[in-house]
């Protein structure tokens, strides 16, 4: 009874959550077990056919592609973003807020527009090729568009602020006297980084990775614009199945597969941070 009263304030939030997240989720799961008629309408007939189909090697390849893209995006944003977060935390307060502002600012610009910026930069007749040719470094335009790498650049670019902010928060929380103790005990800066800073910022790294990985699985307009459909990702496939293929049950099955991947990553994340919390309670 007491617990109920204490949690009463959470009830409206839970209702909203149920309406906005729970119902669509259940809907997707239910649809993934249904069939469709020739016109693409959903038919109330239970089937496992959709799941059988996504295990087809052609479709499994799409899962692998998406996983690779999301994983590499996490890796790239970590490698580039960690130093940014680390250096930012060492700036004096005024410059630090400026840097954080600059990192967050692109969020307020349409992501479609920013992706389009890469098209202008990387296109065969784009800025980079024009500059390279004007300088005489290359004879003909470099083919930079429509590759897996281009999609990776675009996705990493779109999501790197999440990584930086997550890592920055954990670097900033770091007790500076631990670094001093490390130097005092004879460690070099490099040793201090590897033995103290890095292990203590694992929660930030894991958090950033999760925040980047999840949307990277589903983004489809970046691979449409920059990848040119050369590599098929889950997002594109689902998008196509719903809008053109008119096969919503199969799209739903893919969505469930994607959700399973996300749950996998989140559970790894929570395990990583749980171990860490024990040590961080000092």
């Amino acid at each position: 009874m007491k617990a109920l009263r204490q949690n009463a304030l959470a009830i409206p939030i839970l209702i909203w959550f149920g309406l906005l997240v729970g119902i669509p989720l259940v809907y997707v799961v239910v649809v993934s077990f249904l069939s469709r008629d020739d016109l693409g309408n959903i038919v109330w007939q239970f089937t496992l056919d959709n799941y059988r189909r996504i295990l087809d090697p052609v479709y499994l390849r799409v899962f692998v592609n998406s996983f690779m893209l999301a994983f590499l995006t996490g890796l790239v944003t970590l490698l580039i973003g960690y130093p940014v977060a680390y250096i930012t935390s060492k700036l004096d307060p005024k410059r630090r807020s400026l840097a954080i502002g600059l990192i967050i600012l692109p969020f307020w610009i349409s992501s479609l527009l920013r992706t389009y910026g890469w098209v202008i930069l990387l296109g065969n007749w784009g800025i980079i090729n024009n500059v390279l040719m004007a300088l005489g470094l290359v004879d003909q335009p470099l083919q930079m568009m429509y590759r897996f790498g281009t999609t990776l650049v675009g996705t990493a670019y779109m999501l790197i602020p999440f990584m930086i902010i997550a890592v920055y928060n954990s670097v900033d929380k770091l007790d500076k006297s631990l670094l001093e103790a490390s130097y005092d005990l004879g460690a070099s800066k490099r040793q201090t980084f590897l033995r103290v800073v890095l292990p203590l910022t694992i929660p930030g790294i894991a958090g950033g990775f999760t925040l980047v990985f999840m949307p990277a699985l589903g983004l489809y307009f970046i691979s449409d614009l920059l990848g040119g459909g050369q590599t098929v990702f889950l997002g594109n496939l689902i998008h196509t199945l719903v809008n053109r293929g008119r096969n919503r049950p199969l799209a739903a099955a893919f969505s469930v597969g994607m959700i399973v991947m996300v749950i996998l990553v989140v559970s790894i994340y929570s395990r990583l941070t749980k171990n860490q919390k024990e040590g961080l309670l000092l």
Partner: protein
């Protein structure tokens, strides 16, 4: 904690340049006289003129054509 050194400051500066490069490219090409992004044929303000003309013609500017397109692309799930 030690202050950021020179190399670190340079790294940060390079990062911010790359972060804003695509945005700046889009802004730059909004002044391109050629309607294609593949060619640069000189500066123009034509696109801005057209934009403001458009805004005047369609009084409620909020309902820009892109919003209509967005609506029509909404997945139509049957209510079951």
């Amino acid at each position: 904690m030690t202050k950021a050194n020179r190399w670190q400051t340079i790294y940060l500066a390079v990062f911010f340049v790359i972060l804003y490069l695509p945005v700046l490219s889009v802004i730059l090409y909004s002044f391109n006289a050629n309607p294609s992004t593949a060619k640069w044929t000189g500066l123009t303000l034509d696109w801005y003129r057209e934009l403001f003309d458009d805004l005047k013609k369609h009084q409620p500017a909020r309902y820009s054509s892109s919003a209509f397109k967005w609506q029509s692309s909404l997945p139509r799930f049957p209510l079951c």
